[in-house]
Symmetry: C2
Subunit: 879 residues, 2 copies
Amino acid sequence: MSTATATKRIYFFGKNEGEINPSMKNILGGKGLNLAIMCHIGVPVPPGFTISTAECISFYDNGRKISAELLAEIRENVAKVEADMGLKFGDSENPLLFSVRSGARVSMPGMMDTILNLGLNDVSVEGLAKKSNNARFAWDSYRRFVHMFSTVVLDLDHHAFEHMIDDLKAAVGAEQDTDLTAENLKTLTQQYLKYVKDQGKSFPTDPYEQLGLAVAAVFTSWHSDRAVKYRQINKIPHDWGTAVNVQAMVFGNMGETSGTGVAFTRNPSTGENVFYGEFLMDAQGEDVVAGIRTPLPIAELERVMPDAYADLVAIYTTLEKHFKDMQDLEFTIQDRKLYLLQTRSGKRTAAAAVKIAVDMVEEGMIDKNEALIRVGADQIDQLLHPMIDPKAKVAVVATGLPASPGAAVGQVVFTAEEAEVWKNEGKKVILVRVETSPEDIGGMNAAEGILTARGGMTSHAAVVARGMGKCCVAGCAGLKISEKNKTLEIGSKVYKEGDYLSLNGSTGEVIDGQVPLISSELTGDFGTIMDWADAVRTIKIRANAETPLDAATALKFGAEGIGLCRTEHMFFEGDRIVAVREMILSETLEGRKKALAKLEPIQKGDFLSLFEIMDGLPVTVRLIDPPLHEFLPHTDEAAQEMATQMGVSLETVQHKVHQLHEFNPMLGHRGCRLGITFPEIIEMQARAIIGAAIDLKKEGKVVIPEIMIPLIGTVAELKMTKTKIVKICDELVKAAGIQLEYTVGTMIEIPRAALTADLIAAEADFFSFGTNDLTQMTFGVSRDDAGSFLPGYVEKGILKDDPFQVLDQEGVGQLIEIAVEKGRKVKPDLKIGICGEHGGEPSSIEFCYRSGFDYVSCSPYRIPIARLAAAQAVLRKKK
Amino acid sequence: MSTATATKRIYFFGKNEGEINPSMKNILGGKGLNLAIMCHIGVPVPPGFTISTAECISFYDNGRKISAELLAEIRENVAKVEADMGLKFGDSENPLLFSVRSGARVSMPGMMDTILNLGLNDVSVEGLAKKSNNARFAWDSYRRFVHMFSTVVLDLDHHAFEHMIDDLKAAVGAEQDTDLTAENLKTLTQQYLKYVKDQGKSFPTDPYEQLGLAVAAVFTSWHSDRAVKYRQINKIPHDWGTAVNVQAMVFGNMGETSGTGVAFTRNPSTGENVFYGEFLMDAQGEDVVAGIRTPLPIAELERVMPDAYADLVAIYTTLEKHFKDMQDLEFTIQDRKLYLLQTRSGKRTAAAAVKIAVDMVEEGMIDKNEALIRVGADQIDQLLHPMIDPKAKVAVVATGLPASPGAAVGQVVFTAEEAEVWKNEGKKVILVRVETSPEDIGGMNAAEGILTARGGMTSHAAVVARGMGKCCVAGCAGLKISEKNKTLEIGSKVYKEGDYLSLNGSTGEVIDGQVPLISSELTGDFGTIMDWADAVRTIKIRANAETPLDAATALKFGAEGIGLCRTEHMFFEGDRIVAVREMILSETLEGRKKALAKLEPIQKGDFLSLFEIMDGLPVTVRLIDPPLHEFLPHTDEAAQEMATQMGVSLETVQHKVHQLHEFNPMLGHRGCRLGITFPEIIEMQARAIIGAAIDLKKEGKVVIPEIMIPLIGTVAELKMTKTKIVKICDELVKAAGIQLEYTVGTMIEIPRAALTADLIAAEADFFSFGTNDLTQMTFGVSRDDAGSFLPGYVEKGILKDDPFQVLDQEGVGQLIEIAVEKGRKVKPDLKIGICGEHGGEPSSIEFCYRSGFDYVSCSPYRIPIARLAAAQAVLRKKK
C-alpha cells in the first residue's frame, strides 16, 4: 500500500457530517473513519476533527514541527466544534475541553499517546466546576490533565507525580484517590504545576498552545521505540503515519443523570444475539474497568434511564446494520444525553465467531462468503480441544511453547513406560520428558498431555502430540528434570512422580495442581460453516495419519484422503521394534531379509486396516524415512535391555549404535538413501502396501495406494528406487491376476529437488512438498536446535513468524514456486500437495492454493482449519 | 552432441587413403580416425576398414541384427584389403586374417570386446603355417582365435578353455604355454572345437560368417553391463554407439626379421624430447608387456634393424608434427616391413605435461594457449607435494580417501598431544585418529601426515590438512583404532605407538613401514606455464589462510589476496582456548566481555601479522562461525581437565556441554546467529580487525580489510549485524583520525540467502559463496556423515562426482546463478567470489568464471591449479 495522499489537512466530524468513504481509512485512521461514519448516519457523537495521517508525515518532513497552515486549520475546526457544542474552548464560564487521541490505519493498542481534558487551566477549571456544579470533578480533571500533559508532552518523569499524590494521601489520611476532596485536589494540582516549573518547564495555559503541543506529541509517539518495534514485528510500514482525533469531551460523571458504559451488540463469548455490556451512572469510562465500583449489566439501563436505553438499542441496531458486524461500543450519557465515543468490530471467541457468522447469514445481513471470511481459521482450533474453564483461578508455574492445543490434567510421570502402566491402572498422567523420541510413542499416547523441557514447535513431541490431538507444552526451558530421581523442579518447587500438574497447550502454560476442564462442542453452526467452506474451496484436504485412530479422526473431521502415512511410526509398537533391531544388527543381506520377513505381515496388516478405514479415498504411504539409529536405544540401560532381549552382547549393541552415530542426522543416511543402500527394506514395504491393496481389491473394494519416496535430491535416486518398487508391485499385481492402479511419487523436501523439479517430474506421478525439511534446509536451521536462537529472532523482528509454523513465502516459497513451475512444465497434470506442518496453517494454505496445489495434508485436528482456510483463500483471491 | 549421422556405412583405410576430417571422430571413433589419418599422411598401416558408429545404432534398431546392406559392404571392403595386401581372406595358401576391434568416440579402455586372428579355420591354418614357415605360430594363433571367438561371440565360459590348456600342460609336462609344441597346440585346438560342439554350439568355418558374427559381438559389447556402467559414471551418452575397426593382421613373430614394440615420442615421465619405448624381435604385441622376455630399449632397434628404425623415427616425427602432441605408438615389423598399428596422444605425468607443453611452444609446434590447455589443471597438484619414489616397492595395507595429496613417512601416534611431544623430540610422526576435531590442530601441524578412520573428502581432517598442504588419508574404514590401548589394527596386523607407517595422500594408500620419498621441484617450465596462465585469466585467485605460514605459502604460490580467514581457528592455540571457554561458561554479559577482553589483543595481533604479510592485498576476515560447543571438551577426561584449569566443578563444565549440545550442529546456533545472540563476540572481532588495520595505516602501510559475515539467511540478520560492526569500526576510525576504507560483505552459503540475494545485495559490499555449506544444505547431505552412502552413490552412478569435491552445477549451480543474477541486478558492481573447497577445483573454477565471479579462493597449495584452471576456463569459452 502506498502512503496516504490527503486532499485536505483536517476532516471535521459532527452531526450528520463526516467522510464515510472506506478508502479514507488510510487518511483518517480506523478510529477517525468510524467516528465520521457514525456522525454521517445520525449517531450522536461528540463533534471533533481528525488530522490526517499525511500531516504526520509532513510533521516529520518538517523537522518535527506543526506547520502554520495546520495550526490555522485547527483553529477553524475548533471554532466549528464550539459552535456545535455551544461551548467555548478553555472558557471561564462555559468551557469546551478536548480529548486528543492517536488513530492509525490499523489498531496499535497502547503504542501511542492520548491526552484528555485538554483546555483546562486555572481559569477554565473554575468554569467547569461551576457548570458541573462539582468542584471535585473539575479539580480531579485538571490534576489528571496536568499529570498527563506533563509526562506525555513535557517529557517529565511519571513517578514524580505519583509520589506527590501518595504523599498527599498520607498527609490527609486518604486511602483511595476518591477520598481526596476538591480542596485536596486543588492543592495537588498546584503542587504539580510548581514541580513542572521547578523542572525548568513552562506549562502552557493557552488552550491552543496546549492543543498544538498535544498534537505534536501524538505525532512524535508514532516513532516511539515501542511503536517502531511493534510495527517491525507486525510488518506495518513506518511511512503510514498516524492520524490525530481531537474530540469534544463529554462527561458521564456529572451526577445521577450521567453515566458511561461499554457494550457488545452480541455476546462476544457465545455469539448469542443479545445486547451485552456494562455501565455505571455518575462515572467516567475508566471507572467501568477499574473495578472499584461494580458495573451493572447493560439491561439494567432500561430501568435506570429508559429513554437513553431505547436510544442506545436503536443506535446499536443501526451500527450493526451499517457495519454488518458485531460492534464493540463505548458510550457516555451526559445529563441524559447519549453520546457514542467509539465503535469497532468486536473481538470474539471462536464459538461466537461461528455463531455470529451463521446468524448474520440467516438474518440476511451478510452472504455466505462474507461469513466464511469472518471466522478466523486459526481461531477455530479452540473448538476442537478440551479447554481450561475460563472462570477457574490458575497458578501458572512456568510457560513453554504452545505446541499442541487443548488442556490436560494429570499426575506427573517421567518415562513412557510408567505412563502406560499408570494409564492401565486407570490414572490420568502428564508425561514429563527432557525431550521425546520415537520410543516414547506408546507413553505419549497413554498420557493426557506432554510436557518437555527441550524442542520447538516442530519437535518430535510437538508433531506427534498435534497428530494425536493431544495437549503438549514443549521447550519449557525453566524445567529441571531428573529422570533418575523422578523429580521435576520448577523454580523452588519440586514435583515428584504422582504429583498433579495441568497444562494449557493453547498458551504454553504449566499450571500447579488440577484445574477444571470444559469440553467445547462442535455445534450445528460449525458444521454449517464447514459445509459452506467445502462448497467454495477448490483444493482437497487430506490428513497426515498412520494409526486407525488417526485415520478415523481425520475422516470425522472431513479428510478426503491420507496425504502422509509415516510408515516408520509403525515400527515401534510391541514386538515390531525387536524385528527392526534384528534387521539393523544383521551384517548380511540374508539376515536382514529374515528380520524383514517378520515385519512384512505386520506392515501389511497396518495398510489393510488403513485402506479399509479410508474406504476408497487415496492413501499416500511414505517409505521409511528416519536414519536407522533412531530405532536403537539411546541410553546404556536401554542398550543392555536390548542386548538381553536379542541375545547379543552389550558391546555388539554399543558398537552398532556407535557405527550408526551421525553428527547431523537430519542430513544423514535416511529417506531414499536407506533404500538405495538397503533395497530390501523398501522392497518389503512395497510388498506390504500392494499386498494389502490386492487383498481388498479382490474383495471388490476400492483402494487408491500412492507410494511416496522421501528425501529425493537427484532424479537418479528416484529412478533407481522407483524401478525397484514398480518391478515388485507389477509382479504382485500380475500374480494376483487383477487390475490395480497405483502411483509412485516423491517428496520435494530438499532444495536440490525443487531446483531440478523438471528432471524429477519426468519420473514422478506426484509431488508432495515436505515443508518441514525444506524449511530446515533452505534456512539452514535445525528445528530441534532452533530453540536457542529462533525465539529471539521472532522477538527482535528478524523473522515475522517462526518459519516452522508459518511457511516462509519469501524464501522457501520461491523454491516451491520454482518446483511447481518446472514440474508442471514437464508434466502439466502433475498432482501436487503439501504434507509438512504448514499444510494446516491458514496463510500457508493460501500460498499453496495460489501456487496451484491440488491438495494440502495436515494433522487430523487441523483439518477443519484447513477446510476453512482453503475456502478463504479462494475468496481472498477473488477480491 | 547429437548422434553421428554417417553418409556411408564403411570407411576404408589403406595406403594414402582414409577420411581425415577431425569431425569424423563421431563416426569413425578415435582409433578409426587416427588409422585413417596415418594412412592419409603416408604412414604404413595394415589396411582395413572402419564400420561407422551409426551402424551400431542401426544394429540395435534392427533387433541386434547386421543388415544385408552392411554385410554386402563388408565383402566389398574385404576385397579391397585383399587386393592391397595381395592375400586372400581365409585362404589355404595365402591367408589374410583380420583383427576386429571396437572404437568409440572417446576411449573406453577394456570395456568392449576384441577378436584377433579372425579368418582361421582348419584349412587356412595350414596356409599360415606354410607361409610363415612356423607351424607352432600358426596353431598357436588358431587356438587363441578359437578361445577368443568362443567366449566373446559364442558366449561360452572362459574357464573351460583355461582348464583344457592347464590339463594339457600337466599331461605333457609343460611349465609355460611357450613350452607347448605345434603338435600339442593342434591337439588343444581340436579339443577346443570338440568342446564347442559338445556345448551345442557350432563354430563357423566360413571366414565371412566369422567376421559377421564378430562385428555383431563388438556392437553387442557396447551394451555390456560394464560398458553401460562405465558410460553412466563418465556421463557418456548411450546413443553414441561404437565403431568397429577391421584391420589386416600383421605378425611380428614370423622369425628374426620380425618384431613388435610400443613407444612414446617423448619421455612420458620427464617430458624430455627423446624417443622412448621398448621392442622385442620375433614377438607379438602381448609379449612386450607380459614380462616373460625382457624387452629392449627402443634405441637398440637402430643396431638390430637400422632401416626399420630410421623409418620409425621418420614416422614418429611426422606423427608428432601432424598431431602436434606427444604420441603413444604401437608398431609391428613383419619380415623387415614396418607397420604402425595405432597412434594416440600419450598419457604423461604432470612434470612431463608441463615440460612438453613449454618445449612445443618453443619448437613452434603449438601456441601458448594450446600449451595451457594441454596441462591438466588437477594433475599439477602432483608437482606441489613430496611423493613416493615410483621405483620403490610398497606394501599397501589399507586404502582410504585421497584426502590431501603428497606422501608422508613417520611413527604412529594416537593423540594430538603426543604428536607435538614427539615432534619436539625431533621425531617424524603420523597422527592416527578416528576423526579429528579442532582441538587436534596443533598435533596435525606437528605430524608429517594424518590418517583417519572416519570422515570424507571434506571432513575436518581433510580440509585442515589440505589447508596445511599436509598429506592426509581420511575415512579409511578398515582401521580399528584404540586410543586407550594405543593400537591400530589393520586386518590381522597390529601397529603400536612408534611403529612406522607411510601414507600416499594422492591415492589414499596406507603403506607398511618406511618408503623412500622424492620431492618434486617447481621447475622453470612450471613457472613459465603459470606466467602464461596469469596473462590469460581474468578472475583473481585468493587463498583461504589464517596463519602466517599459510599466508606466506599462499603468496609464494601467487595468491592475490586472502579470500577466507577463518578467525575461529585462531581461538584454539595456547592460552586462547582458556579465554574462549571462560567466555562460554560465563552466564553474564559482563563475564563474557571480561573474557573477550583477554582475547582481543591476541586477535588483533593475528590480524596485524596477516595484514603485514599480505602487504596491501585484500584480506577477507570471516567472523566467528562454528557453534560454541566446538570449543568445549568432547570427552569426560578433557572436561575434568578443563574444570581443573578453570577452577570450576566438573558438573559446571558438563552442564554447559549438555546445554550447548545440538542434534544437528551444522544447522544450529552458529555463524551470524551467534553474533545476534552474543553481539559482544563479533564486536570484539570487529575492534581487533579494524584496530590492526588502523595501526598499520598509521605506519603508512596499505591495508584492505574486508569483514565477512557468515551464515546469513535473511537480510534482516545481515542488516542487524552489519549495523553493529559498522558503528564500532567507524568510531575507531574516527577516533584514530585517519582515512581507512573497509568493506562488509556476506557469505552466501544458505539456500535462502541465494534465493533472496536481491534483498541481501542491498546491504552487502560483496558476496562470497560458501559452497561447502551451500552444497550440504542444497543436497540435504552432511559431509561428515555422507561416508555411509555417498561413495556408493558415485559408484552406482547416481552422482558423477562427489559434490563436495566437484561443484554440482546442475543443482547448487542453479542457486549460485540465481544469486549472482539477483545480486548484480540490485548492485551491478557487486564483488563476487567463492571460498568453499570448490574454489580450487578446475571444473568448478570454470563454472565460477562463466557465472561472472571476480575471484576464487582456495587452500594455498591449490593456488597454482586455480591459476591454470582460470586460464583454461577463458580459453575454453573462446572456443
